[in-house]
Amino acid sequence: MTTSAPEHLGSGGDAGTLAAVSLTGVTKDFGAVHAVRGIDLTIRPGEVVAFLGPNGAGKTTTIDMILGLSAPTTGEVRVLGLEPREAIARGLVSAVMQTGGLLKDLTVRETVEYTASLFADTRPVEEVLANAGITGIADRLVQKCSGGEQQRLRFAMALLSDPALLLLDEPTTGMDVEGRRAFWSSIRTDAERGRTVLFATHYLEEADQYADRIVLVSHGRIVADGTGSEIKALASGRTVRATLAAADTEALAALAGVDGVEVRGDSVLVHTKDSDAVARYLLNETDARDLEITAKGLEEAFINLTGDHAEGGDQ
């Protein structure tokens, strides 16, 4: 494969235990559209991982493959060592989607009972209703429930089978600050018991605050993978721009601290944590002129990592 190497920043290695999620060389095409272009990812049990990227980055497609809703074009997906559908059949994987997925003409309790009856083992329905704080509305029709109540019902359904892996799609959209804090504290408690949580988001801040690890995806590839502070360190760098014809991009990329090199016409842009070293190199070793150094913000780092110029260049 001709993928540009993602920036591995520490975590992500195999600790010897069975991986909660393991993707190996996964691609997914829809006709001529390459939604996922080669993802390798290992998530250990108990990790809380944010899947961060802009819309259309391939997050949903990847999550669909982990859930066994679609099969990869090439590569292999394993959940706790099993085929995704096998893991689902054992109640090991649950997902909470942002919208839909409920029958309007069932009551809250019927919805939970219905779902519970499909699994070999579940927690008691009453206990799950109580934990989700929806015992009081158990006999209400779903169509009469507010958006927040429906979201609590979705969580109740997802937690019925006591899943080892929980996938969440933009989980706290629409929650207030208090609800968000309570939500993440309960997610944390479960993670300590070994539940793995993978959540998709396009908010850098949410990923940074609540995840142990951030996997940044863009154009169907992982472009960065590390802790929140490691990802933020990317943002602490600067961009060095200079006018230079026929820049030696390989030599620039090899300099210590360089995160990325781009050529735009006669300009070369170097994203680096050590702008002094790049400036020194450009001025001493090359014909570079009009040199500029600018600081990057967090959002800009995100855009740099996920934007078009982060492409490997096979299209």
Binding site: L69, G91, G101, F119, R193
Partner: protein, 260 residues
């Protein structure tokens, strides 16, 4: 709480098929006023209005009277409506994302379809029983008891063709109110199939009628009233449309599960 142990997990028997789901599905169906009106009340009213007047009660038809003929036709119509609505529930469920939600549970697609088919057959049975019970109480229809039972059973079991039709349409038309489209379509097919009024065989209309999906069921359901051997074309018609609708439903379903 205990630490999660993924190796201790089991797969449910029968692909997740169970009585709790069946019960909740039935309760849900009976909660739907439109379903009740169209599948249980309307065929009964049609029988009372069309079939139970004095002249029809006096006219002989086969081993019974014309009221009996119309009673069987309306029972078949009710069974067709009920089976179709039961099958077409998948349209609503797909539109709401419930099918996708179910794909995140151990429920197998086969168990799901089996549940839908059973629910639609049970609703069909309720519809056939409603027409027949009202017919008995009303007292206008006359036919031997064995004809009464055989005709009811054929109308009910033959309606499985329309469970498949409902499923096929449910997968084809992802809408929350697919029966608003299918209701008029079925009324038209019932007319063409000879459920509303007899169609002369051998005429152009008769030939067209014999190709439409309700024709086989209509004639087979009324066959016990006359006895003798059933016409091959009735059986072939029923089997042909069963294969078409089951095939269509399976085709759409496999497309659907490729990416929900």
């Amino acid at each position: 709480m205990s630490v999660l142990d993924p190796t201790a997990r089991r797969v449910p028997p029968l692909g997740g098929f169970n009585v709790t789901v069946l019960t909740i599905e039935l309760r849900r169906l009976l909660r739907n006023r439109r379903t009740i009106i169209f599948t249980l009340i309307m065929p009964v009213l049609l029988y009372l209005i069309i079939g139970s007047n004095a002249s029809y009660a006096n006219d002989r038809e086969g081993s019974g009277n014309v009221s009996a003929y119309i009673l069987i036709s309306m029972a078949a119509y009710g069974a067709v409506l009920a089976a179709t609505s039961g099958g077409a529930m998948v349209a609503n469920e797909r539109a709401l994302g419930w099918s996708r939600q179910l794909r995140l549970t151990p429920l197998s697609p086969v168990a799901y379809i089996l549940t839908k088919a059973l629910v639609s057959l049970l609703l069909g049975l309720a519809s056939v029983l409603a027409v027949n019970v009202v017919g008995v109480i009303n007292g206008k229809a006359e036919m031997p008891t064995h004809v009464w039972i055989a005709a009811g059973l054929i109308a009910w079991l033959g309606s499985i063709v329309f469970s498949a039709f409902g499923l096929f349409m449910g997968y084809l038309l992802p809408s929350e109110n697919v029966m608003q489209v299918l209701g008029p379509v079925l009324a038209g097919l019932a007319a063409l199939g000879g459920l509303w009024f007899p169609i002369e065989p051998g005429t152009v209309l008769g030939h067209i009628s014999a190709c439409t999906p309700i024709y086989g069921l209509a004639y087979l359901a009324r066959w016990p009233l006359y006895g003798g051997a059933p016409h091959l074309v009735w059986v072939l018609n029923l089997l042909f449309w069963l294969v078409v609708f089951v095939g269509g439903a399976a085709w759409r379903m496999s497309k659907d599960t490729a990416r929900v």
